[in-house]
Amino acid sequence: MNNSRRIVIQLLIASVAILFCSKLFYMQVIDDDYKSAAQNNVMKRFVSYPFRGMISDRNNHLMVYNDPVYDIKIVPKEFKNVDTAAFCQRFDIPHKDFDKLWKKARRYSWVKASTLKKQLTKEEFAEIESYLIDFPGVYVSPRTVRGYNYKSAANALGYIGEIPPRQLKKDTLKYYREGDYVGRSGLESYYEEYLRGQRGASYKMVNVRGVVKGSFQGGEYDTLSVPGKNLTSTIDLDLQAYAEKLMKGKVGSLVAIEPSTGEILAMVSAPDYDPGLLSGRLLGKNIGKLYGDSLKPLFNRPIMAAYPPGSIFKTLQALVALQEGVIRPGEKIYCDHKLIGDHAPIGLFDIQRAIKYSSNNFFVKVFKEVLNRGVDSNTFVDSRLGLDKWHSYMLRFGLGQRLGIDLPGEKKGYIPSSAFYDRYYGHNRWKASNIQSLAIGQGEVLVTPIQMANMGALLANRGYFYTPHLIKDVDGNGPLEKYTIKHETNIDPAYYDEVIKGMEQVVQGTATRAYIKDFPIAGKTGTVQNPHGPDHSVFMAFAPVEHPKIAVSVYVENAGWGGRAATAISGLVLEKYVRGHITRPWMEKYVLKGDFLY
């Protein structure tokens, strides 16, 4: 009997041994999960964040740089025997907040670091640095945020912020991780891939607290980080700041372009904001405020707002009429006020005089002739063919489509096509007279301020333009390739001279606020009817007339007749840029005093 009991005990031991061996075999040989779990445990990918590229203006004034900030982190397990009251006092954390943060950190992990306080500035960090040693389990991780030397060009520069979940999902290359900073608007967003540089990664073996214990496989898979590329902007900071000063207290936009290159010298969206408001810790607090502002400071008007161009559109209409041969330079036609209401006197007008007095009837007349060339005996069909041709001219001027500026969110504006009117009136149920207000920049046509400035540039160039852009140099390699391509309008340069002569007379005659002695400016005013309040004021100009250096468009909402705000501002900006100083301080005072906010 006792022998069998001995066997029972031996069987018990043997079966436990077999149970252990088979369970071990399953865990160690069959199931691979433990191996990957072990690797996940010890292998930690350390990302070294490169410095984001910096941005300077065309004269090498540093506009955007990187500012070091410090995150305070805590490892609950190591945070022992600590006088929390002293800790809260030293690190300036309200006791209540600390309790909350502590609970959150413990919930997240007992052994891994949680962020306690984000983005301390250099100065704030210096204050607490020496206390760190007194508090075990408290760590600091440095990072950088954007710093700004000037309060200018916020909307053009844009801001960086944590990557939004939607973008993270779209990131198929899996470059980004949650919490990474990316350009969220403006140049920061458009040039993200250049600015961000290349993150380095090193694979390290860590212990349970994340303390590095050595490199993984001798650092075989490690890569170094590559700093982001620096950008040189086309913006002239002096001009930009001056333009912003002039646009203060107004709603609208100002765009100045160097015609020979398409480089944007200044781009103002008024009202705007201090770019520093959206940097680092302040971002969350301020962005809501800016979004809530009824004057929409985050709305980048130069590229996002589309307005009826008003009378500045007539310059292009003149070019089309000349190119189409419906009128010759110097040819006069009689205009009364029968077709459309008009500020111009009744009488004989040639192209130059029509531009000078902004004759509505003249331009409606030639527009109708452009449309109705008698190609088809049916007026409706003829108008349709005419509009198609007209439409293609407008596209050549860069209208009705995105110019392709290096900013996200550019609007196309709108140039109505025959298809549009077919939908509106019905097929072959409209003709030139139905759509004649296009000739004077009213009606369905919409143009963005950047397109208006580009009009000025192509007029200044007598027939071509380069796509307006804000970055003239990416890390020593010049601008993006698309900005070196010349866009021809294929209109006889002689016709440009004709229009420009008219525009010179505008400044000498009707838009006298832009008139400057010994400083030849060509410009065109516009007043855009606004059903909601005072008319919008617009001016498009370039200077000097021969060898132009700058083309500008100014659009001031609700500022009334074109001669007022927009013209005055343009004149000041043109002179400031070309001469380097202004000769009419009274005009500056006038602009600064004027309040056009509604």
Binding site: I9, L12, I13, F20, K23, L24, Q28, K35, V42, V111
Partner: protein, 426 residues
């Protein structure tokens, strides 16, 4: 020649060298892995470095050899004659530790003598084994009577109670396994069957709703009644058992979820569902399994493990030393150590069975039972087959008290076995 044998016989007797070899193999395995468990590649510290656990353990091993020599030098009759004295002295130290003990990690089980720290609970094992063996070997004992064992159980319950009072429930539970020795001597096999059934029912009640377990038991009871002969006595037995097991089921559930302290509940929960809270109570089990599971067939190689030395596995030198073995030496190493233990226990059973003296046999089975319990619970908890109970892997885990206690436990038996021809049969 005759004289030589006589002298040799007096000191070493017929020492079982195989058992001694297995003993030192386990100690050696332990020492190597204690070094590996916290090995730091960059520090370049020697395995003999006294600042390291491995160095200290080597010191303990050295003292162990002195201890072994001492045990072998003592007259074999000493252990028989002084069994109760030894038992009494050790019980006294258990009481002393309750009064003067030093509290470490929640249990008051350490006695400090100068720089020395001892855990008397460890020594209670061999003392109790001696006491029980002495008690059962007295000629007046009737080995087929239940009362004999009930009285012997008192000798076991005393140290258990004292150790529970110290707050070390895990160590106290070890003593229960001595019923294995009782069983060998003639206690009914139900002592093995009943705890197994109760254990199974308890486990099921924790894993599944009590109602489901109760219904399942009912179904089994009906089945048993239906199949066998339907005598009144048998039916009554089944019904009583059913009632008892249902009470166990409800009771276990109640005790675990209403009476257990949060950390004890946590251990149970971690056992039932280690993935439920992998960063909290499930951490130990999860990380232990990861360490062992990542070892593969051949292991990562000596000193090339990562999980234990980077502190993912807590207590990696003591209670969780098996993780280092599993990680660095893979299935070959861990199964090897498991089998080494099995082999050792088989050898000790073989030794026990060849005794003429009941005292030595009972003592031998007590030794086997205690090793078995530690082995089963310790390895079981590291591979997730048993809840985490903080008891060491004999001879392998780091710790002087444990090593000394097991050395005494085992070598007293080896010494007694060496003199089996001289022992009086009773």
């Amino acid at each position: 020649m005759e004289d030589q044998i006589q002298r040799k016989g007096r000191f070493l007797g017929n020492l079982d060298w195989l058992a001694v070899l297995l003993f030192f193999m386990l100690v050696f395995v332990g020492w190597l892995n204690i070094y590996a468990a916290v090995y730091n590649e960059e520090a370049h510290r020697s395995i003999f470095d006294l600042g390291l656990n491995s160095g200290k353990q080597l010191l303990w091993v050295g003292t162990t050899i002195v201890l072994v020599t001492g045990i072998l030098a003592v007259d074999f009759k000493f252990f028989d004659s002084f069994a109760y004295v030894i038992y009494g002295v050790v019980m006294l130290t258990l009481v002393i530790v309750l009064i003067f003990g030093r509290e470490v990690a929640g249990s008051k089980s350490w006695l400090e003598i100068g720089a020395f720290r001892l855990q008397p609970a460890e020594f209670a094992k061999f003392a109790t084994a001696l006491g029980v063996a002495k008690f059962l070997s007295s000629p007046s004992m009737k080995m087929d009577k239940l009362m004999t064992y009930v009285r012997a159980a008192m000798l076991i319950l005393l140290p258990m109670a004292l150790i529970v009072l110290q707050g070390d429930v895990g160590s106290a539970m070890v003593f229960l396994i001595l019923v294995l020795a009782f069983y060998r001597e003639g206690l009914t096999g139900l002592v093995l069957v009943i705890p197994t059934v109760i254990g199974a029912v308890s486990l099921l009640s924790l894993l599944y709703p009590v109602v489901a377990v109760t219904l399942g038991l009912l179904a089994v009871a009906v089945l048993i009644i239906a199949i066998g002969e339907k005598t009144k006595k048998r039916i009554a037995m089944v019904v009583v058992s059913l009632g008892f097991l249902c009470m166990v089921s409800v009771g276990v559930h109640y005790v675990v979820f209403n009476i257990f302290k949060p950390h004890q509940q946590g251990r149970v929960k971690a056992f039932i569902d280690p993935d439920g809270d992998p960063l909290g109570v499930g951490w130990n089990v999860t990380q232990a399994k990861i360490a062992i599971g990542s070892g593969g067939f051949w292991g990562k190689g000596f000193l090339h493990g990562t999980q234990t030395k980077f502190d993912f596995v807590p207590e990696q030198s003591t209670d969780f030393i098996f993780c280092t073995i599993g990680e660095e030496h893979g299935w070959v190493g861990s199964a090897g150590v498991v089998l080494l233990f099995a082999l050792f226990m088989f050898r000790l059973i073989f030794l026990a069975e060849r005794q003429k003296s009941r005292f030595v046999r009972v003592y031998g089975y007590c030794v086997v039972s205690i090793i078995f319990f530690h082995w089963f619970v310790n390895v079981g908890m590291t591979i997730g087959l048993f809840p985490v109970i903080g008891i060491p892997l004999p001879l392998v885990s780091y710790g002087g008290s444990s090593l000394w206690a097991f050395t005494m436990l085992i070598f007293i038996f080896i010494k007694l076995d060496a003199h089996r021809m001289q022992m009086m049969a009773r």
